[in-house]
């Protein structure tokens, strides 16, 4: 079978809507279009029923109860609501928040905003493997600490944090535990009870649901978490998030969660096999490639690799029929290489050469083989062009050279 290009292998960025999800959503655009808040007619009741069904499907995936699910516009909003909402609600108790350096910007920038409002934030470092040190966490907790916010799995390197252990510590210390679960939920088992998670952010479009819908799990018992709303209005979602519910989106998110739950045992095994095939294929044909982050504690669908001596953007340009992303500065708006790789202690020279592969539900072995051969071809060609590769082959240690960066913006 001929390979159809372009090949999508950037599933951490977004996923297509699963056709089964789309099918579930379609009636809610035109036939069952009611406002779930309309209490007086069947249009409203049907919409409400669909919303409650979605709530239950999400709750089942993460071992929560339906009442603990608050719908949002996506995980950025969920993270904002969790952090700003809890920070305001628990201001009397304290003003200290603990997070870590490789969080998504939706957490980091929310924390920065809270710092402007007088909160104090500790940004824990990560070890070389991308995971926080639990002793660092224990030491950082003070009587003023109100929230610990740590992501389940990282969006660049797929590294999974020790969430059950963190949850245990948070519970012992009586600190609320928020988890950005965007990349992990639906891919690996996430259990808010077993993991002692108090708030969990979920996004629809990372799990084969639609864009523009997400959820925040907010614990109702032991402890009962209360949040100040950040969007005021009609008092929807028990006052935590006003705004007419996105019924079609919620139906899609619910169905997406249901499918993930049913297929996770087989899908995660298939992802791991594809990922291993990709990794082995690349390592067999290319020297000087380095994996960024822990391989042991990692999402099964993620591979983040540095291809030394080849700059990431030029690599992406060469494999223009494959959609992946790079930690290279040139691909970011800020012209800085990936802050996540930097936090791991990956040298900036290697950060510039990193590629993130995000495998997903619709990738095949043939696609993995095609991407492998394209990568090998382009990396080899660009290394022939690279003065650094030539120097390395001559035995010159480029890290010990004096580089006079004369040009431009760096």
């Amino acid at each position: 079978m001929a390979i159809k290009t372009p090949i999508y292998m950037d599933y951490h960025a977004t996923t297509p809507v699963d056709p089964r999800v789309l099918e579930a959503m379609l009636p809610y655009f035109t036939k069952i279009f009611g406002n779930a808040a309309s209490r007086n007619h069947s249009f409203g009741w049907e919409a409400e029923e669909a919303v409650e069904n979605g709530r239950a499907q999400i709750a089942r995936l993460i071992n929560a109860t339906p009442k603990e699910i608050v719908f949002t516009s996506g995980a950025t909003e969920s993270n904002n609501l969790a952090l700003k909402g809890a920070a305001e609600m628990y201001r009397e108790k304290g003003n200290h928040i603990i997070t870590q350096v490789t969080e998504h910007k939706a957490v980091l920038d929310t924390c920065k905003r809270l710092e402007k409002y007088g909160y104090e934030v500790t940004y824990l470092p990560v070890e070389k493997d991308g995971r926080i040190n639990l002793d660092d966490l224990r030491r950082a907790i003070t009587p003023k600490t109100i929230i610990i916010s740590i992501m389940y799995a990282n969006n660049e390197i797929g590294v999974v944090q020790p969430i059950p252990e963190i949850g245990k510590i948070a519970k012992e210390k009586g600190v609320l535990f928020h988890v950005d679960g965007v990349q992990a939920t639906g891919k690996i088992p996430v259990d808010v009870q077993g993991d002692n998670i108090d708030m969990l952010s979920i996004s629809g479009h990372k799990i084969y649901g639609p864009k523009g819908v997400g959820a925040l799990y907010v614990r109702r018992r032991n402890p009962r978490v209360q949040l100040s709303a950040i969007i005021d209005g009609g008092g929807h979602e028990r006052g935590m998030r006003s705004g007419t519910l996105n019924v079609t989106g919620i139906v899609g998110l619910g169905k997406a969660c249901e499918i993930c739950q049913q297929e996770m045992p087989t899908e995660s095994v298939r992802m791991l096999a594809l990922r291993t095939r990709l990794q082995k294929g690349l390592e067999a044909k290319l020297d000087e490639v380095y994996i960024n982050g822990s391989m042991e504690h990692r999402l099964p669908n993620n591979l983040n690799m540095s291809f030394a001596f080849v700059e990431g953007e030029s690599l992406l340009m060469g494999i223009n029929d494959v959609a992946v992303s790079s930690g290279s500065a040139c691909t970011s708006a800020t012209l800085e290489p990936s802050y996540v790789l930097k936090a791991l202690g990956v040298g900036e020279d290697l950060a510039h050469t990193s590629i993130r592969f995000g495998l997903g539900r619709f990738n095949t072995e043939e696609e993995v083989d095609y991407v492998t051969s394209r990568m090998v071809e382009v990396v080899s060609r660009l290394r022939e062009l690279s003065p650094l590769y030539e120097m390395a082959k001559e035995g010159i240690d480029i890290s010990k050279m004096q580089w006079g960066a004369t040009a431009g913006s760096h």
Binding site: F309, E348, L385, P387, L388, E390, W403, G408
Partner: protein
């Protein structure tokens, strides 16, 4: 980011890739940029000491497509020029020729620096050679 056709052309078919013998007294080598910054250019020229004409130019570049294109173009432009003519090439000429967007201007600056560094190296070699005599 969308690349201009000329950048893509140079990226797909870079001109004058390779190396010249560093020790050759008529070869000047310019190595500019830094791996941490994501760009390193090596530009080499073989210059006729009698005529001051750049007879050969070779490059190798670690960097984005625009950096590769800028250095590839630089080798094309300096070939056949005299040293003084080559020194007159400005980064803005490269920006114009390749239609580089503002975020890629530093690639052209680096290419201009590489030309100057290679010629500087050649002049230094010549100077030292004269002293030795």
């Amino acid at each position: 980011m969308a690349y201009s056709d000329k950048v893509i052309e140079h990226y797909n078919h870079p001109r004058n890739v390779g190396s010249l013998p560093k020790e050759d007294p008529n070869v000047g080598t310019g190595l500019v940029g830094a791996p941490e910054c994501g760009d390193v250019m090596k530009l080499q020229m073989k210059i006729n000491p009698e005529t001051q004409i750049i007879e050969e130019a070779k490059f190798k570049t670690f960097g984005c497509g625009s950096a590769i294109a800028s250095s590839s173009l630089a080798t094309e432009w300096v070939k056949g020029k005299t040293v003084d003519e080559a020194l007159a090439i400005k980064n803005t000429d490269i920006v114009r020729e390749l239609s580089l967007p503002p975020v890629k201007i530093h690639c052209s600056v680096l290419a201009e620096d590489a030309i100057k560094a290679a010629i500087g190296d050649w002049k230094k070699k010549k100077g030292e050679g004269a002293e030795a005599k």
